[in-house]
């Protein structure tokens, strides 16, 4: 057996992420695939890809902790933790100080406050509404006929400020149709959509102290991080693999704790 590995698997609404860490906590393997309709299958596939990425085999895994909405669908997990706990753990590993974490996920947003030791002081999640989440950006991309992965590049080409004011994803899409009719350019609409996400997130908390952003949306769209920094009036930092933050936290739990359920 190679060096022992610890797996964290984050089965999110949009993507399933796996992180493998070694005994020192270093990230040695990773994978992120769409969650699809079968969480059990997605978790098996993502684990196999992460093991391949690490050049390891399932026999090298000492313990696995699952998190995310599908955490209870992972048959091979030894324990589960909520995504709040795992995002906190993952972010604090890279920023071991008092921080406020903004996680922008596929379906929900989380704000988590930690003290310098990594103890959770408070957390909150968005209401039952997709506005301000990855799902909102997916809907907007579909409406304006671009692929989600094109959005960051398009936002960089924006020259004029466009505001999308609605609280509701569906109404925002309608608002965008009105912008299109008025001749707004696609890059400006995309950046406006990013700004809308940032507004929804920053109305969740006053963001005192140091701020760290995680999640798939900031992983793929650095413009969102810049807009977040502008909105909170200070630099917003990101860990090396923002989308994997929850999975890394789960892997760190797998490393340090006996299986819990």
């Amino acid at each position: 057996m190679a060096s022992p590995l610890f797996a964290g698997i984050d089965v999110g609404a949009a993507a399933t992420k796996v992180a493998l860490v070694d005994a020192s906590g270093a990230l040695v393997g990773k994978a992120a695939i769409p969650s699809g309709m079968d969480f059990a299958e997605a978790s098996e596939t993502a684990r196999a890809l992460a093991l391949e990425d690490a050049g390891a085999s399932a026999g090298d895994l000492v313990r696995t902790v699952s998190t995310g909405y599908g955490r209870k669908n992972v048959a091979f997990a030894d324990g589960t933790k909520t995504e709040i706990a795992c995002h906190a753990r993952g972010a604090h590993f890279y920023f071991p100080e008092a921080i406020t974490i903004i996680d922008i996920g596929g379906q929900d947003n989380k704000i988590i406050k930690l003290d310098a030791a990594g103890n959770r002081l408070d957390f909150r999640m968005n209401r039952k509404c997709a506005a301000g989440t990855g799902a909102f950006l997916e809907e907007i991309a579909r409406r304006i006929g671009v692929r989600i992965e094109e959005m960051e590049g398009l936002a960089r080409l924006s020259t004029e400020r466009v505001e999308i004011g609605s609280f509701c994803t569906v109404f925002s899409a309608t608002e965008i149709l009105a912008l299109v009719r008025r001749g707004a350019k696609v890059p400006d609409i995309v950046k406006g959509a990013f700004r809308s996400v940032v507004k929804r997130v920053t109305e969740m908390d006053p963001f005192e102290g140091k701020v760290v952003a995680t999640g798939g949306v900031v992983a793929y769209n650095s413009t969102v991080v810049e807009l977040l920094s502008d909105a909170v009036g200070k630099p917003v930092r990101t860990p090396p693999a923002p989308q994997l933050s929850g999975a890394i936290g789960a892997a760190l739990y797998a490393r340090n704790e006996p299986a819990s359920s």
């Binding site: 933790k81 709040i84 706990a85 408070d122 957390f123 909150r124 999640m125 039952k128």
Partner: protein, 416 residues
């Protein structure tokens, strides 16, 4: 894996069998009265002047109780759209919309629970008190128009701090003003001694119900909020009767024995939580199981405490009813509510508060004006807000709520 473990067992409260009989008698008596025309039937808001109605010979039916049944049986969503279609918004009280919708469809879940009951007992009068909200008045007025039945009531002050004598006198005068109409409908004069007797029974019921709730101050707690939502039935629908008193005299010793025997409602109780706001009626089972699995007891709630009327006094029936129904948590200012929760914390020794932000019940969603933050600062009590609704499960995201509750309990565990 957690889901493969056998779920911990609920501990049955043996008195529940008697409670079912009290509730069945309540509905059968109403059904018979509606069929025979005697005695007369009054519909009353849940914290309305039920004592006056009973003293004047009415049997009293509570539409809000029916609303809760619609929620608990998860039939509410079938009916809410029917009320929406006649102009009652999905944004307003989902007790109102589900109840009116059920009426429009000519159905009631009571018919499944109780043989021979096929419809609600037709009222002779509708009586409201707006101490909870304006929706209860709108609700009663809809029935008033629909059934051509008199609708009368009390307009209460809102957001009040200390309940002073001016407020009590004003409300008392409104209660007295109901009497002539009620006398005309019932065909009998108000007997003040009968009113004193009913108020006395109601007070006795309140005192016992309060003692039942306060058994949860024991560690471990013998009783949970979820038990309370069920066992409050007689305090809601039968207060002012001997049956309700008898029921709580039967329940209380069972809970005291649990305390003496150190029987915990939640085996291995590790955390204690206060529930603010409405229950999520359609998810009581799931939520109580979740807390049981998490070894967390929801020990107290604003909701179950809402049927504690310690101001009632048989010697001074009108003024004491006015005071009791104005001292209610829901009527009060945030300052008064926060002081109340502080007293509850001292009594029940809870480690955290769950605020249920109920989409269609703004008056009983206390997180919306910064109260969780103020209580955290003042008392050092952490809280979590879940977004849902009393009856409309379309407003409730179960996955998000479960994650939030589990994460909150993880947070409390981290403080141990």
């Amino acid at each position: 894996m957690a889901e493969e473990k056998k779920a911990p067992a609920f501990k049955k409260i043996m008195a529940a069998d008697m409670m079912k009989k009290v509730m069945a008698n309540h509905f059968y008596d109403l059904n018979n009265a509606a069929k025979t025309g005697s005695p007369k039937v009054a519909w009353c808001t849940s914290v309305g002047p039920a004592e006056l109605l009973r003293a004047m010979g009415f049997l009293v039916y509570f539409p809000e109780n029916h609303g809760a049944v619609l929620g608990a049986t998860r039939t509410a969503m079938d009916y809410i759209p029917l009320a929406n279609a006649v102009g009652y918004s999905p944004e307003i009280c989902s007790y109102l919309t589900s109840d009116i919708g059920a009426f429009l469809k000519g159905e009631t879940p009571l018919s499944k629970q109780y043989k021979e009951i096929t419809s609600l007992p037709k009222p002779n009068v509708l009586v409201y008190n707006t101490n909870q909200c304006r929706d209860v008045k709108d609700w009663m007025q809809w029935y008033g128009r629909r059934l051509n039945v008199p609708c009368i009531g009390i307009e209460t002050f809102r957001n009040i701090g200390d309940v002073n004598e001016d407020a009590v006198k004003a409300i008392s005068a409104q209660i007295k003003a109901l009497v002539p109409t009620l006398e005309k409908i019932s065909g009998r004069k108000l007997d003040i001694d009968k009113l004193r007797e009913v108020v006395g029974l109601s007070r006795r019921c309140t005192d016992l119900w309060k003692q039942v709730l306060e058994t949860s101050s024991a560690i471990p707690s013998p009783f949970t909020f979820f038990d309370g939502t069920i066992h409050m039935g007689p305090a809601v629908v039968a207060r002012g009767t001997q049956e309700a008193v008898d029921y709580y005299e039967h329940l209380l010793p069972e809970l005291k024995k649990r305390i003496a025997d150190k029987v915990a409602a939640v085996e291995g109780e590790r955390h204690r939580i206060y529930w603010d706001g409405m229950p999520v009626w359609g998810k009581l089972r799931e939520l109580s199981t979740l807390f049981l699995e998490q070894k967390t007891c929801v020990v107290a709630s604003t909701y179950c405490n809402s049927w504690v009327f310690t101001a009632l006094d048989a010697k001074d029936p009108f003024d004491s009813m006015a005071r009791a129904y104005t001292e209610l948590f829901i009527v009060r200012s945030d300052d008064a509510k926060e002081k109340y929760i502080e007293r509850m914390r001292d009594l029940f020794k809870f480690d955290g508060i769950l605020f249920h932000d109920s989409k269609t019940c703004p008056n009983n969603s206390n997180n919306r004006y910064g109260m969780p933050q103020r209580l955290a600062e003042k008392l050092g009590i952490p809280s979590v807000v879940i977004h849902g609704d009393l009856n409309d499960l379309r407003c409730y995201s179960e996955e998000q709520s479960v994650t939030q509750i589990e994460a909150f309990i993880e947070q409390l565990e981290g403080k141990k």
